[in-house]
Symmetry: C2
Subunit: 204 residues, 2 copies
């Protein structure tokens, strides 16, 4: 059975959601943060970086949200269901792009925004960079989601999990009010039965 | 023919390197930064985010370094050559993990370090986060590369391009002196004939 190492409260809830959407059996191992909000040593037993999510699937141990999404979908679903058929090169390329985009482009400026918000005088260069990038990417995602419910079109796909994560992060930072398409996307995804089951099971 | 939109000087040199390693024909379109070090409007004609690298392959237009690497290797190489055979689940999972790791884990704290270094008083929380994460990941990469020349073993693979990028970024920030395995890895990869051809062709 798949084991998911899940650090509460954090991004791995989106991997719980994915496992629920795919209808896979899994064991959820829950870890708690210390007073500083960081993982504790117990999670380092599961993975040397002490990060979450980490999954185990038999002898395979895997970290990195995007890699876990790609792996689970490739291993446990039929082509065309959660990812385009690889034979459709253009659709496959779009899928790859959106799978890498949340971490590749959106996460860093949102993380900076979050850390700056929590305290301290913001250095102008870093602050300006973070603001500019956040605006750019929120606008880009909102435009991409303006005429379709999911990032690849009418159907949810593996590319929506990481994207929902960064949109939810932006939402927690109070940044998506001006983007109704992003708010609708977040509501649509977090309202899905599988997401509700994930929240219930992970007690978030 | 593949077109690569390349913003000088920046990360897309690693995509030029990949194209050279794969021996593919490509047209290099070079863009220059403005005085602020940012891309100019000409690159926004190629991609709405004004980012680089972007490739075009016939009707397919693709951004995100990791996605471009995955796409080019899947499209133009035989399984087992630049990526493990997908049938070997464990090897494939490791490949996916290291393909996602540079952007998913290492890039954000390095970017913060770079922006903090360029000026301004560093807010303690952000500075502490960046330092802690940078140390953690440099140590992790150094350990992974201590007994093997490339990240998946004795042979270079698609997972080495993004990793070389973040190691080179750490090097430019003066951070890898204490990690001989990372210095050796960087020297090994940037000394490859294909890397030298990339530098020559992109005039970096």
């Amino acid at each position: 059975m798949i084991i998911l190492h899940h650090l509460r409260i954090g991004r791995s809830i989106f991997t719980v959601w994915l496992l629920e959407e795919l209808g896979l059996d899994y064991e959820l191992r829950v870890y708690l943060r210390n007073e500083m909000g960081r993982a504790q040593d117990d999670l380092k037993m599961a993975h040397p970086l002490g990060k979450s999510p980490v999954i185990e699937d038999g002898p395979i141990k895997l970290s990195e949200s995007g890699a876990i999404t790609a792996y689970l979908i490739e291993t446990y679903t039929e082509p065309g269901q959660w990812a385009p058929d690889r034979a459709d090169k253009a659709a496959w390329a779009r899928y790859l792009q959106w799978l890498h985009y949340p971490e590749g482009s959106v996460f860093a400026p949102l993380l900076m925004t979050m850390l700056l918000k929590r305290g301290g005088e913001a250095p102008a260069l870093l602050d300006g960079f973070a603001k500019g990038e956040v605006d750019l990417h929120l606008g880009y995602m909102a435009q991409a989601l303006d005429r379709q419910p999911f990032i690849l079109g009418s159907q949810i796909s593996g590319a929506d999990f990481g994207l929902t994560y960064v949109v939810s992060m932006a939402n927690r930072l109070g940044l998506i009010e001006g983007y109704p398409a992003l708010q609708a996307y977040l509501d649509r995804n977090t309202g899905r039965p599988a997401f509700r089951r994930a929240i219930d099971r992970a007690v978030e």
